[in-house]
């Protein structure tokens, strides 16, 4: 798969990574190179194969539905780049 500049810009927007215009062209070439390489998997016959999501047991363990942790607001907010009145603070999202 050859990606063009527009496709890279779209993926970068999905991934929330700001790219400069001059980064798009070289990234398009690099990512296309990697994608072309991984496309060798197309030659493997996987018609009757179930996808493997994990090597671990697929049933999740159950436990009692009770609170095991919490009340750590200040500890957690201590790492926030910006916090106010016990909340994470971000740029305004609602006008």
């Amino acid at each position: 798969m050859a990606l063009d500049k527009a496709a890279v810009a779209h993926i970068a927007a999905l991934a929330r990574i700001r790219l400069k215009d001059e980064e798009l062209e070289p990234l398009a070439a690099e990512l296309s190179h990697i994608l072309t390489w991984v496309e060798q998997l197309a030659e493997v016959d996987t018609a009757d194969v179930a996808p493997m999501t994990s090597v671990a047991a697929t049933t999740l363990p159950m436990r009692e539905d009770e609170v095991t942790d919490g009340n750590r607001r200040d500890e957690i907010l201590a790492n926030a780049p910006q916090a106010a009145r016990g909340f994470f603070a971000v740029p305004k999202v609602v006008e």
Partner: protein, 493 residues
């Protein structure tokens, strides 16, 4: 007199128990070695005060006869494990200033066992790499150099800092994580032992996630016995990791009986890759000969899907990474770059906070998971992954373990293999399939390359049969008698 930092972990335990030296003396020797090793740039954060405090507590227990399994043993921690109140960076700019309010399960178990924390070691950013050159904190160096050549070499990666400090005697052992080879390949490059346990054996809780279905915490040590002792302390069921296996932890060092008579050792013919350097091929044959002399029987086996493992990995790992790394958004911790809107802030924070290789993998991962491409890439890779795991299962019906080279080369110079990402990815050709199948594997130093650098051999076992891997690895180590030392040893010696 032998330097304190020359003792192996097993020897240091005996010395501490016999009160030949105190935990404080041992910690002080390692703190000095850690400072002497600064030119390697292998530690991101040194924690000498914590080390001396923990050593004092160990001395107290030793005096009262309440000794724990790792009391007084100085350990380095890959800076991917969260350590309570101690800067944890994943070698990324985006985690600037992050001090976790909790401790990872694996490190918690080590401290509970009495181990002493020396500091946090350098790695490829978010463990994405095979050279420890993608670190925001600059590359770490290998303590080995080619004789007559002063160029600094990579320690391998991503656990390159951990491998470098263990090899340079600036830690007695270390934690690593292995997603595609990141414990075993640096161990091979630095002439030491690295053990990737079975998926589920060591908890991932509190380890900064790269690719959750492939990430394996494990030990890095100077020899096989030390790796077994460390694994015993790190392993065990953890309800906080839903993929942690509820399986009892055996006495791993008891598995090293020295007796491998009658075992069948698989030699996978597909690992004889095109263009494999002849010295690697020769070492591999030597390894098989050593095991035969010890009474085992090498048997050729086939793992036909081997050639597709790297491509499978470079779909699944970036896909999982793109999802795991979505949490770095400038809101909860780490770096924030101001923006006019929330989206601006996200995008600019991630643009500045992530390095080139991390961006590359997040973008690839985002693409293979995106609408219209999911089936062709991600689902396809999961199916091929199933076939790769089946290959191993079929082989293990005929043999007890597998013997392969660890890596297709010895350590390379810092700056080499930077131009083509795929050339760098090929470092992991012999290790990646094992992660896809979740099996235990060890790298043992077995010889030197023509230019005087260490080369490792890998033993792969059945799921949860670390004991077999250790048993055969121990015999291999004894036969190889790898006594070469790197050009730089921090602790004098």
């Amino acid at each position: 007199m032998t330097e304190l930092t020359d003792f192996t972990l097993a020897e240091a335990r005996e010395g501490l128990a016999a009160r030949q030296f105190s935990a404080r003396e041992l910690a002080e020797a390692y703190v000095a070695a850690m400072e002497a090793a600064r030119p390697l740039n292998a530690y991101i954060t040194e924690t000498p005060d914590i080390a001396l405090d923990m050593a004092a507590a160990s001395d107290q227990r030793l005096a009262q006869g309440e000794t724990r399994p790792l009391d007084g043993i100085p350990i380095a921690v890959k800076d991917l494990f969260c350590t309570k109140g101690v800067l944890t960076t994943a070698a990324s700019h985006i985690l600037d200033g992050f001090h976790p309010p909790y401790e990872s399960t694996v490190t918690e178990k080590l401290w509970q066992a009495g181990a002493v924390m020396l500091g946090k070691t350098n790695l490829d950013e978010f463990a994405m790499g095979s050279s420890t050159t993608t670190s925001y904190y600059r590359p770490a160096e290998n303590p080995w150099r080619r004789p007559g050549d002063n160029r600094p070499l990579v320690p391998g990666g991503s656990s390159g800092g951990s491998a470098a400090v263990v090899a340079a005697h600036a830690a007695l052992g270390a934690t690593g994580t292995d997603t595609g080879g990141s414990i075993r390949q640096p161990a091979s490059f630095c002439g030491i032992v690295g053990l990737k346990p079975t998926y589920g054996r060591c908890s991932r809780w509190g380890v900064v996630a790269y690719a959750s279905s492939l990430d394996h915490p494990g030990p890095i040590a100077r020899n096989v016995r030390d790796a077994a002792i460390l694994l015993g302390a790190m392993a065990g069921h953890d309800p906080r990791d839903s993929t942690s296996a509820p399986i009892a932890v055996p006495d791993f060092k008891a598995a090293m009986t020295g007796d491998i008579r009658g075992l069948k050792i698989g030699i996978p013919r597909e690992y004889r890759a095109e263009g494999m350097p002849s010295e690697i091929e020769a070492l591999w044959q030597q390894g098989a000969a050593w095991l035969r002399e010890a009474g085992a029987e090498p048997v050729e086996v086939s793992l036909p899907m081997t050639k597709y493992a790297l491509a499978t990995y470079y779909i699944i790992a970036p896909a999982e990474a793109s999802s795991n790394l979505a949490r770095y958004d400038g809101v909860k911790y780490g770096l924030r770059v101001a923006g006019d809107t929330l989206d601006d802030m996200y995008e600019m924070t991630r643009a500045e906070g992530f390095g080139t290789e991390v961006k590359r993998r997040v973008l690839i991962g985002t693409y293979v998971l995106s609408a219209g491409y999911y089936d062709a890439y991600y689902l396809k890779a999961q199916k091929v992954r199933a076939l790769i795991a089946q290959d191993f299962a079929a082989a293990f019906e005929k043999v007890d373990c597998l013997l392969t080279p660890t890596a297709p080369s010895a350590a390379f110079a810092i700056g080499e293999k930077q131009d083509d990402p795929i050339a760098m990815y090929l470092n992991d050709v012999f290790t990646v399939p094992v992660n896809l199948a979740g099996l235990p594997a060890i790298s043992v130093p077995a010889g030197l390359s023509a230019d005087g650098l260490p080369l490792g051999l890998q033993i792969i076992g059945r799921a949860f049969d670390e004991e077999m891997v250790l048993r055969v690895g121990d015999v291999l180590e004894t036969a190889a008698q790898f006594t070469h030392r790197p050009s730089f040893i921090a602790g004098g010696g």
